[in-house]
Symmetry: C2
Subunit: 203 residues, 2 copies
């Protein structure tokens, strides 16, 4: 195979979801029809490269200094959701139930990956808490050891401020079958058990 | 999500092996570390776009007019393997057992996809047969209806020339278990059964 082609395929193979063979297949697809698709792909990637930057407030990707979520006047100002990465923002936005604003940490504390507290985007977080009239913070991090460590770290950081700090509920996922649940989830679901309230019938 | 970003992700999602979510994940990966990987990806794709063209002899992708396979003096000149696409060339080259040259048809006859004989790269094929001293042609096409139709079409085209024309053997794949084989393969394997020849022991 030509060395230029090989180099490009090797680069593509580094993308998550791709391996050496699927990157080959993708490259052949892109080169079809006189490279029509390749042109399109390059120009789209370039416009992302040139225009996309981080939102100065929340850390989201945006082509302006402040992203559309932060600028949206319809969103509740007093509710702030703290997340690890932009992909979490996309996930929550896709589900379309949260109407507050976001703050992206840019990582979670991890001894293995060598991520320490000063690498998290907490400085702007504290500024926002001071200045934006936030009364409720939801720390929406993964239910892993690193995620929960980070959650406690952030909660500690925010203690003493006049805000309510929440973490996500833990329990059975919707549609989850009891006999496929792991022990941790099962015991968490028992610990946080909820009373079933029936509305009284009018006799 | 930003519209530029969305457009680029939609383009990436068209690549085989990618869907909307994996394209999102790949884009986030590319944007990490101030877009370091994205730079690399764009420059590699651009150098492919600018430099890769079709080999004028066989149809392989190459950055020169004639590809390295056609130029290789160590390859047997008289053996020609006819294949559908560049990806087949890569597959055969990876297996590293064939030492002849290739000819890429650029498609196979297909009523559904509307590919007719004049869309196949057969003109240069006939020229090569005349001028390159080829004595053996191996038509290595898929064992599908379209592949086999094309195989007979090419064989017909080459009949009357002073060359031997072969198709690939059909039978049990290496490592294949008998009770998982489909009926067609099984009957093909019976039809082309081979005599087991034992070397005689010296008494």
């Amino acid at each position: 195979m030509d060395s230029l082609l090989l180099k490009a395929i090797k680069t593509m193979a580094q993308l998550p979801g791709f391996g050496p063979r699927s990157a080959q297949r993708a490259m052949l697809f892109a080169l079809k029809n006189e490279g029509f698709f390749l042109d399109q792909l390059i120009s789209n990637l370039e416009s992302v490269r040139k225009n996309i930057k981080k939102c100065q407030i929340c850390g989201n990707f945006s082509c302006s200094d402040i992203c559309s979520v932060c600028l949206d006047p319809k969103r509740t100002k007093h509710q702030l959701c703290i997340i690890e990465s932009v992909s979490d923002l996309w996930t929550i936005e896709r589900a379309n139930f949260f109407n507050g604003k976001f703050h992206i940490l840019g990582g979670i504390l991890s001894a293995i990956d060598g991520i320490s507290p000063n690498q998290l985007n907490t400085e702007t977080l504290l500024n926002r808490i001071e200045n934006e009239g936030i009364t409720e913070v939801i720390i929406a991090l993964s239910a892993t050891i690193e995620g929960q460590t980070t959650m406690y770290y952030i909660a500690e950081l925010l203690s003493g401020k006049d805000i309510n700090v929440f973490s996500l509920a833990q329990g059975i996922p919707i549609g989850g079958e009891l006999n496929y649940l792991d022990d941790g989830t099962l015991s968490a679901a028992f610990l946080d058990k909820r009373e079933v309230i029936l509305s009284k019938k009018i006799a």
